[in-house]
């Protein structure tokens, strides 16, 4: 009964959301009463939908296996935390969460933006229709409320063990918050296009929301990457997996978008870029949902595959995106600014970087689609791997970073003077050259791309440190959060390059009580223990590692077998230090009683997380400072 009630609430909410959309299209949205009405209906329908979700969470906590989805993905033995996170461990439930977040952003927008704002009613309307589209998808093709009656099973089938990890429980929600957060930028862009009044400064209103969404997206991707690093046991942090790529594309577009926004919120220059990018970011987020949920692509992430779902999503996304683009073409003439972009101004460098970002998005899309096109024509499966992406991303990113440096020197709407070749740039140039030379000479960094990355990364960092210096001691105005975010970028480039250059691994065959040496570290296999966890049994190995200074520490890699699904997972053991991680995984036991143990030295990996964290935190603070100016 309660299950049906929850489903009914969702259906009711769908109807009310649709009503919001209809009102925002056919009624006079400049009438304050109409705006109030739309806003109120939206809040009510969000409240109904949220209640439905909360009931569902309650059902999951109480092991209500009459619900098919809960029976398939949860289990009585699970801790409560995982019973809740099992909701987003597969298709139906995660779609449910996705839509909750979509409407949540709308609700926060609806709540916090004043009814006088010119685009509010239509923005809420656009958010509503997007929500309706996904709600219908949920109810018609992937109903999480489906029941097994009259005989529910006694116990559930358990959540996939690799997903039984605190980080992975929060990775999807943060990522979804980022993905769907751009619905506000999208809604405002569409509202702006429908309105067709070029004097409205929609960019200013949308900046705050977009930067928050960007921070969540970055956090979601970083968490996913971190999880992959310690859980999958391959020691890498980015695999160019198709699903990683479809998350990377909206991120790239979003990054270009928030940069263009900062230009066009000052003058309406670059408005074509901002509108187009706002549509692109959200379309790419939706495209990601389509790729993952249609099951077109085999990946760690792919969900159950049902062609009908793919078709529905494709149709809905296609209609939404095509309508937006037709609207965009229709209004193209009012978007064109009568001011020209001054060459060598800050705007010009931002638009050049937009082109670089566009190239990266296009290349990633090519990498994702090429195997599909190939399969479609030749009926053979091929895959596009890391070499392709590296060959494109490394040079273009480095080139874009050079333009970033010029843009630090340049000013809004005025030409860059040649005086920019003055002290700060020359100092940072010499400094970076020196750093690069040192690492070449004394740290045996010899690959050309590593040196180039090191050089460019140091250039960014040193130049921005001087900006901070001027900010503190000469009271020169800068946006300090943007500076910190870019410092993060510089650091990220250096750490990725050094990680790639220094890291190494070896597989050892080792018996208990034997010692092997790898790179000045003595690795002793101390013993092996069998133990039992709450829902798995495990083999835990104990290794003592001694480095050349005589420091000892122990590492305990583990292999687990989960009872319910019979799946085997490897738990890595990581010894983290400032410069490197020592990363141990155990494989199979050989016939002679020795074990295969994989040892990896992963350098600068912590720095990668640190750089990303710096970018995320700067993003959040930047949004906060914008909000303060705004109100």
């Amino acid at each position: 009964m309660i299950i049906e009630a929850a489903q009914f609430l969702t259906i009711l909410a769908t109807g009310l959301f649709f009503l919001c959309f209809i009102f925002s299209i056919f009624f006079n949205v400049n009438d304050v009463n109409i705006i109030k009405l739309i806003s109120r209906i939206y809040s009510h329908s969000f409240f109904l939908f949220l209640s439905s979700f909360l009931i569902y969470v309650w059902l999951a906590i109480n092991d209500n296996f009459s619900v098919l989805y809960i029976a398939q993905h949860s289990n009585t033995n699970l801790p409560v935390f995982y019973k809740i996170s099992s909701i987003w461990s597969a298709h139906e439930g995660s779609m449910f969460l996705w839509i909750i977040f979509l409407s949540l952003w709308g609700a926060i927008y609806n709540f916090s933006v004043h009814n006088n704002e010119p685009l509010k009613a239509r923005t809420v309307g656009v958010i509503s229709i997007t929500t309706v589209g996904f709600l219908l998808f949920l109810l018609l093709t992937s109903n999480p409320f489906e029941t097994i009656l009259p005989l529910p099973p006694e116990n559930g089938a358990d959540i996939n063990p690799v997903l039984q990890d605190p980080l992975l429980a929060i990775h999807p929600p943060t990522l979804y918050l980022g993905y769907v957060g751009f619905v506000i930028a999208f809604g405002q862009a569409i509202a702006f296009l429908i309105e067709g009044n070029s004097s409205i400064n929609w960019e200013k209103q949308v900046r705050f929301w977009s930067i928050i969404a960007w921070s969540f997206l970055t956090l979601g991707i970083t968490l996913g990457s971190w999880w992959a690093y310690y859980e999958l046991g391959w020691g890498g942090y980015w695999f160019w997996d198709p699903v990683e790529n479809v998350a990377l594309m909206p991120w790239l577009a979003a990054t270009a978008f928030i940069h263009s926004l900062s230009a066009s919120s000052k003058s309406s220059i670059l408005r074509i870029w901002t509108i187009l990018l706002s549509i692109l970011v959200f379309s790419l987020s939706l495209f990601g949902a389509f790729i993952v949920r249609s099951g077109i692509i085999d990946s760690v992430h792919s969900f159950a595959n049902d062609p009908e779902r793919g078709l529905y999503l494709l149709a809905f996304i296609g209609i939404l995106v095509m309508t937006s683009l037709i609207l965009f073409s229709y209004r193209l003439t009012i978007l064109i600014s009568n001011k020209r972009i001054v060459s060598l101004s800050k705007e010009s460098f931002i638009s050049i970087n937009n082109i670089f970002f566009g190239t990266l998005i296009f290349s990633t899309m090519l990498g994702v689609m090429y195997p599909l096109i190939y399969e479609f024509i030749y009926d053979q499966k091929i895959s596009v791997g890391a070499p392709f992406y590296n060959a494109i991303f490394v040079p273009i990113t480095l080139l874009a970073c050079l333009f970033l440096l010029f843009s630090i020197e340049s000013k809004w709407q005025s030409k860059l003077k040649f005086a920019f070749l003055s002290n700060p740039l020359i100092i940072s140039f010499v400094f970076s050259l020196f750093i690069t030379f040192l690492s070449f000479k004394f740290y045996s960094v010899s690959r050309a791309w590593t040196l180039a990355s090191l050089f460019i990364g140091s250039l960014i960092i040193s130049r921005y440190i001087m900006v901070i210096y001027a900010y503190i001691f000469h009271r020169k105005f800068v946006n300090i959060y943007s500076v910190l975010a870019h410092l993060g970028l510089g650091l990220l480039i250096i750490s990725i390059a050094l990680n790639n250059d220094f890291s190494s691994e070896r597989a050892l065959n080792i018996k208990i009580n034997e010692t092997e040496t790898y790179k000045n570290h003595e690795i002793t296999f101390n013993n092996l223990q069998l133990s039992e966890g709450p829902n798995y049994e495990s083999v835990k190995a104990d290794f003592i590692i001694e480095n050349k200074n005589g420091n000892k520490f122990s590492l305990n890699p583990e292999k687990r077998k989960y009872f319910v699904r019979g799946q085997i997972t490897t738990e890595t053991a990581i010894h983290a230090s400032l410069l490197k991680d020592i990363y141990l995984t155990i494989g199979d036991q050989l016939d002679d009683g020795s074990w295969i143990v994989n040892v990896q030295f992963n350098y600068f990996i912590r720095w990668i997380w640190f750089s990303a964290t710096l970018m995320i935190i700067s993003g959040l603070f930047l949004a906060r400072s914008l909000n303060r100016v705004h109100s």
Binding site: F290, N305, L311, L314, I326, L332, D379
Partner: protein, 176 residues
């Protein structure tokens, strides 16, 4: 310039969506299906019901092999369709995967038995050799060769889109 931009953006995006439409509509689009021919691994495993063993010689000719377990909920959803298939005279061998004997027998008693016989593969040995990743999975074998493999629930649609074409092509199950 604006005309060019309009036409360019609209046509590129339209082509993009059209391609995915074609791709999805295409018959090949069943990620769970694979048609690589391989030899059926040699096995000698216990019968679920008796102390006897079942070996390769028991599955000569064309057979379906269905991997299932009592803990597998999708198997329960699939089960009705298998019963229907067997009533049409399709021989299905059950591969009971990592399951307790008593649970498996109870399950069959409760939901019906579409299988000619059932192998009890407690440790998943044969399943491992056959490349099984979970349950349910279904194999089509002919004269000691695996000719089709489907990961996931087999239902009316999967049967007619994935299995029927190859059955027709190879001219199997005709003697019934």
């Amino acid at each position: 310039m604006t005309v060019f931009l309009r036409v360019f953006i609209l046509s590129v995006s339209l082509m993009f969506f059209y391609f995915f439409y074609l791709y999805i509509e295409d018959d090949k689009y069943y990620p769970g299906a694979s048609f690589q021919t391989s030899n059926m691994p040699l096995f000698e495993l216990e019968d679920l019901y008796s102390d006897g063993v079942i070996t390769n010689s028991d599955i000569e000719g064309a057979h379906l092999i269905n991997v299932w377990a009592s803990w597998c909920i999708t198997c329960r959803i699939e089960h009705g369709f298998l019963v229907k298939l067997s009533s049409q005279g399709i021989p299905i061998m059950g591969l009971n995967y990592k399951d307790e004997r008593i649970d498996a027998i109870n399950w069959i008693t409760k939901f019906g038995d579409p299988y000619k016989f059932i192998i009890h593969d407690l440790k998943g040995e044969l399943a491992l050799d056959m490349g099984v990743t979970g349950a349910p999975e279904t194999f089509l074998i002919n004269n000691g060769k695996i000719i089709a493999h489907y990961r996931g629930e087999v239902n009316e649609m999967i049967w007619s889109d994935v299995f029927s074409p190859i059955i027709k092509k190879e001219n199997l199950f005709n003697d019934n």
